[in-house]
């Protein structure tokens, strides 16, 4: 039995990191994920036995690690990945959530979904193929979705005799392209997922590379600063009124801090009413917190009685969000039914529900060449463009660039209730 203090230090001091993987078909994405899970002991014996059995039955030569991530019957039968799958592993430093998104051409929507919550994107490039159209698409989506860190893995280095020139050639080509893109932090790694070079252990075949391994990067990339701690934004999710004897006058506003920090005494404004007050307490069950910050879920109480309900936003007075009904955004279309100009949709933005009409579409993007098309109006599934909408009531927002929570919005088809568009406010 370990000493309790050491024990707590080991298990209760880990950080969470969410990453997404993007690669073309056969770039070795499943092998890479399989390698990370296997080397970090997140694959169990019975899972391994099950995929060994399944691989043997299908007549595969090697154990097919893709079977680990392809969970649905149809996926296993067709040998393709249909939907985003979530995978988990942990090292003593961090717990990792992988959004494993299919590399198929028509699945831009899955990549956007996986990217929406990621801190890190891993983009895989086959060393033999170099930068492809699809690579550009992956890089563009990472930049559009504002994933703070991008790790470009040049994979299958074993098949190009571990040559530094090949790696540098791809690195330079990617850098040229990414000048046009808005990515804060890009790293490049030469790896072989199959052989394990530079994934968990350093490669002995590439003396010329003196950077970190992939796992080291994932464990050490600084993610705390990815959150916005400047703009105080607290979308009210739910009003808590116990109306019991003990808490007769308690009126708390429950929500998850979208950005910034909140502490007792802070001056705040409530939108849309515009009334101001100060924070009385920040509660979490029996605890009153000295300070809370994104992404904590808390209950805030105010000094003054103000009428506040779901959809309202408590903000810090010093830095107010934008308010408006005419909103411009980049949007990725997710539905088989095309976007309708002048069409009406439901929208969800923070805890707020509204309706909107699509007024204009200035352009759409060819995501393989990044060229803008000003003529073709309307979007079909997997296309990305800029639109202007008018909402039935004002929304309180920031640009997505500044705030991934108050800057994101979804469009919902009013007849099917399906989520059809993912918008990033400009």
């Amino acid at each position: 039995m370990a000493d309790t203090k050491d024990f707590q230090k080991g298990y209760l001091n880990m950080e969470l990191l969410r990453f997404t993987t993007a690669g073309s078909v056969d770039d070795g994405k499943s092998t890479l994920i399989g390698r990370l899970l296997y080397d970090s002991k997140a694959i169990f014996e019975d899972q391994m036995e099950a995929i060994e059995r399944a691989s043997a039955q299908k007549g595969d030569e090697h154990v097919n690690l893709a079977l680990l991530t392809d969970g649905l019957r149809a996926e296993r039968e067709q040998g393709i990945t249909i939907d985003v799958a979530y995978r988990y592993f942990a090292t003593p430093k961090r717990k990792f959530i992988i959004a494993d998104t299919p590399g198929h051409v028509q699945y831009t929507r899955n990549m956007v979904t996986g990217a929406s919550t990621a801190n890190v994107a891993i983009i895989l490039i086959d060393a033999r193929q170099g930068v492809l159209e699809q690579t550009i698409r992956h890089a563009y989506i990472a930049s559009l979705l504002k994933i703070p860190h991008v790790i470009v893995c040049v994979n299958k280095m074993d098949l190009v005799e571990y040559q530094e020139e090949v790696f540098l050639g791809i690195k330079n080509r990617f850098k040229e392209l990414s000048v046009k893109l808005d990515i804060q932090d890009i790293r490049f790694l030469p790896i072989s997922a199959l052989k394990g070079d530079n994934v968990v252990d350093r490669s002995e075949k590439m003396d010329w590379y003196d950077g970190p391994t992939l796992l080291y990067l994932l464990e050490n990339i600084h993610v705390i600063s990815d959150y916005n701690y400047v703009d105080g934004r607290f979308p009210v999710q739910y009003v808590i009124r116990p109306q019991t004897e003990k808490y007769h006058d308690y009126r708390g506003y429950a929500g998850r801090i979208a950005s910034g920090t909140f502490e007792p005494g802070d001056r705040v404004a409530v939108l849309p009413s515009g009334f101001t007050s100060s924070i009385k307490s920040v509660d979490m069950m029996n605890e009153s917190l000295e300070m809370a910050f994104a992404p904590q879920s808390v209950v805030i109480t105010l000094e003054d009685d103000i009428d506040i309900s779901r959809g309202d936003m408590i903000v810090k007075e010093n830095k107010m969000p934008e308010t408006g009904q005419d909103i411009e955004m980049m949007i990725c279309w997710l539905s088989e039914t095309p976007l309708l100009m002048n069409g009406k949709y439901s929208v969800k933005h923070t805890s707020s529900d509204a309706r909107c009409i699509v007024k204009e579409m200035p352009f759409k993007i060819n995501i393989n060449t990044l060229e803008k098309n000003y003529d073709d109006k309307g979007l079909v599934m997997n296309e990305i463009g800029k639109i202007k909408i008018r909402t039935t009531k004002p929304l309180y927002y920031d640009s997505y660039r500044r705030n991934r929570i108050t800057g994101s919005i979804i469009l919902i088809d009013e007849s099917t209730n399906n989520t059809v568009g993912a918008g990033m406010i400009v």
């Binding site: 370990a2 019975d46 649905l72 939907d83 799958a85 739910y238 808590i240 209730n417 993912a422």
Partner: protein, 301 residues
Amino acid sequence: MKKYNLNHLRELESESIYVLREVAAQFEKPVLLFSGGKDSIVMFYLARKAFWPAKVPFPLMHIDTGHNFPETIEFRDYLMKKTGTKCISAMVQDSIDKGRAVEETGINASRNVLQTVTLLDAIEERKFDCALGGGRRDEEKARAKERFFSHRDEFGQWDPKNQRPELWNLFNGKKKMGEHFRVFPLSNWTEMDVWQYIYMEDVEIPDLYFTHKRKVFLRDGVWLADATFMEKKDTEEVVEKDVRCRTIGDITCTGLTLSKANTLEDIIQETAATRVTERGGRYDDKRSEAAMEDRKKEGYF
């Protein structure tokens, strides 16, 4: 320690609480499915945290096969009394009596599959529009594809190939009459996270999770508890062993782990060292490669 540091458990907790509050806000009549296992215990604990100091604004419901470990029921009743909460029992036996479900026969008979009938009937009868489940994506490969907000049609079916995209923290719970949602607040938790959280927050759990002596027998490499309604083959010999549950389900399909783990620290260390998945001991998953996917499509938990 850095100023804005949130450990992984606190971040998962915040996410789950956010999801629970979305459920309370977006649905008219949600219900929390409570089995008495550690996942639903943690989910209920998080729900109490999410709405404190008010009460959890939805009822609990136990889909009861009648084939329980008695300790599970004792613990359930104790916890309900302690927290002043009501837990509805929907009995599989009632579904059988009404002819809605047919009891399986034979040596591997289990009421596991029948629970789906009872669950869907209870949702329909009581007009629940959302059922909260403690399912986690790391449990099983079909669950890895599951959304936080999972749409069910009017037959209670799941269409895994045609799910709504789920982006950022914007959950779309819109539905038509007669349809409902399954919501999984613990989607991103692993077995280890659940144990660490129980340890960190000192959450009460049934004694079944700790080592105890029990009469058991071995079937296909899985230790099962001896109970009156368990039919045994002649070759299956009942012996007494030191065991504990890693997961608690119906007694007929819950495999027991040989273990001397007596504290939460022991359990966490055992979980870290184990090389078999949690559901590896679940007899209900061994029926076929896609056993979970097939049951989930029909409306299972």
